[in-house]
């Protein structure tokens, strides 16, 4: 199978207003393919359409237009759900159950016998770092982070081939985030595919093989992280850091250089130029003012820049 998730021209309109006649397009013609065995990052600002997409894939929402397949089956095929896992954003479960009972319940849904359910429950709650003493407490007494851990555990009950995680790090403290990152990496090592939406770009940089960035319900960029960053870096600016001279003096000295930006930094004055050919002119201007060249660096594109660019495009 070349692609484990195939999304084609997927759109979703929400009907609003008292008579439900007004329509708001949350997702607009999204086409996206995900290869198996990788961690796929699904990025976008608030309201970009990430959760809508995942909910359509989970058959919680029905698309207005378009189609999608998971593991080669149409998303309307509920039997395919025996091979996938899903942890919703800010998950919430039956609060009258304990963590042990919840996982046991989902194990029963999949038809596992008592011994297997017990083993799975122990393994998964350990894997997500839920302390043993918390496992027999009702979920109504759980913090947001603990609910998140239970959410991740229940998504893995059936040993899924692909797991969809909607903001999996939400509500977790730094230690919890690291544990969940390790869990996600271990899933990839076992050959699973992870499709995760997140706002936390450092997690994306640390985990994801490929990403897609959504903007206003549309696909703004997609590809491997290295590909996206190198494409964006083809024509990047350069930054020169100059010491021993006042920022204002440097601003006047480089005013003739087209597109030069002057910033005051703790270590000195930073001048950003758009063309490599302008570097010599800045160095000459700095020397004229009695300044000292501290460093000259290309300004490389970060994922954050890419994210912001995609958002603003």
């Amino acid at each position: 199978m070349e692609y484990i998730v195939e999304i084609k021209d997927l759109s979703k309109d929400y009907e609003t207003g008292f008579w439900r006649k007004k329509k708001v397009r949350a997702l607009d013609g999204l086409t996206l393919n995900v290869r198996p065995g990788q961690i796929f990052g699904f990025l976008g600002g608030n309201g970009a359409g990430k959760t809508t997409t995942i909910k359509i894939l989970m058959s919680l929402l029905f698309p207005t237009e378009g189609s999608a397949k998971i593991l080669g089956s149409d998303i309307s095929d509920v039997s395919m759900h025996s091979r996938i896992g899903y942890c919703p954003e800010n998950p919430y479960f039956y609060d009258y159950l304990t963590a042990n009972e919840l996982l046991d319940y989902f194990g029963q849904i999949f038809g596992y016998d008592t011994a297997k359910r017990k083993q799975l429950t122990d393994e998964l709650l350990t894997a997500v770092g839920l302390e043993e003493k918390s496992r027999s407490r009702q979920l109504r007494k759980f913090s947001k982070g603990m609910q998140q851990r239970v959410g991740l555990a229940q998504a893995l009950v059936n040993d899924p081939e692909i797991v969809f995680l909607d903001e999996p790090m939400s509500g977790l403290d730094p230690v919890g985030r690291r544990e969940i990152r390790e869990l996600i990496v271990s899933l990839r090592e076992k050959g699973k595919t992870v499709f995760m939406s997140t706002h936390i770009l450092s997690d994306v940089e640390a985990l994801c093989d490929e990403v897609a960035i959504l903007r206003g319900g549309r696909l703004a960029a997609t590809g491997s992280l290295s590909e996206l960053l190198s494409t964006g870096n083809e024509q990047r600016a350069f930054e020169l850091l100059i010491g021993g001279v006042a920022s204002e003096q440097m601003r006047n000295a480089v005013s003739g250089i087209n597109g030069a930006k002057v910033l005051t930094k703790p270590a000195g004055t930073a001048i950003e130029v758009q063309n490599e050919s302008d570097i010599d002119a800045v160095i000459a201007a700095a020397r004229t003012c009695g300044g000292k060249i501290i460093s000259v660096n290309p300004v490389s594109l970060s994922l954050e820049d890419l994210f912001v660019e995609a958002k603003n495009r």
Binding site: Y14, K55, M58, S59, L60, L61, F62, V78, S79, M80, H81, S82, I84, G85, Y86, C87, P88, N90, P91, Y92, F93, Y94, D95, Y96, L97, Y105, F106, Q108, I109, F110, G111, Y112, D113, G151, Q154, A155, N158, F164
Partner: protein
Amino acid sequence: MSNGPLHRIFVIALNTFREAIRDRVLYNLVLFVLLITASAILLGDLTDGHEARTIVNIGTNAMLLFGAFISIFVGVGLVSKEIEKRTVFAIFAKPVNRAEFIVGKYLGLCLTLLVNVAVMAVGVTLALLYVGSGALAAGIWPTVYLIFLELCILTAVAILFSSFSTPALSALFTFCIFVIGHLSASLRELGNALGSAFAKYVLTAVYYLLPNLSLFSFRTEAANAMVPNAAMLLGGTAYAVVYIAILLTVAVIIFSRRNFK
């Protein structure tokens, strides 16, 4: 490893029953037991030898009212609470289709009602034995069965409304159906008596559309030591099964089209 639709329905039903137990739905039994005990002990003197009849009257009517309360208020929350609290998200990401979910939730509440009604009936039976009316004690069980069937229909009505409406409106609609359902035969007679063809058609349509709950009403007769005959029990069962099947089918069709934002 069994993993068919029936297995999943059974698992969901058992979890719904567990939810009802943990949400203390069956606490109403304590009130009921107090009511029956008080009736057995106190009413003997007041009703001049008719204490057994009074116990059956109070017992069976309380069974219906307490049960209707559970059917309506727990029934309308069965589905809406799952949507509001977003617990459906994880369920529907599992291989559970919406029909299995609705039927499982429904059967779970019916199981709760069965336990509730059965415990109440045992309480009434013990109270009747206490006042020395063994024959009446055995005779109330078919009436209790009819009450249970009525509650099953009412629960299906509550689920149908809650599949598309808010809990408050669903509770109101279901309560109205409960009241009108006991008067539906009168509605038909009213249609015939009015003399207007239009009124007759409308009221006859309402008669057939709404559940005829008077079919399950045998409480007054039971207090007079009468027992529903086999035709009434079988007819009532068939009517309830068909009516519930139709209500749940419509609920499933509506619920299957719902988006969970």
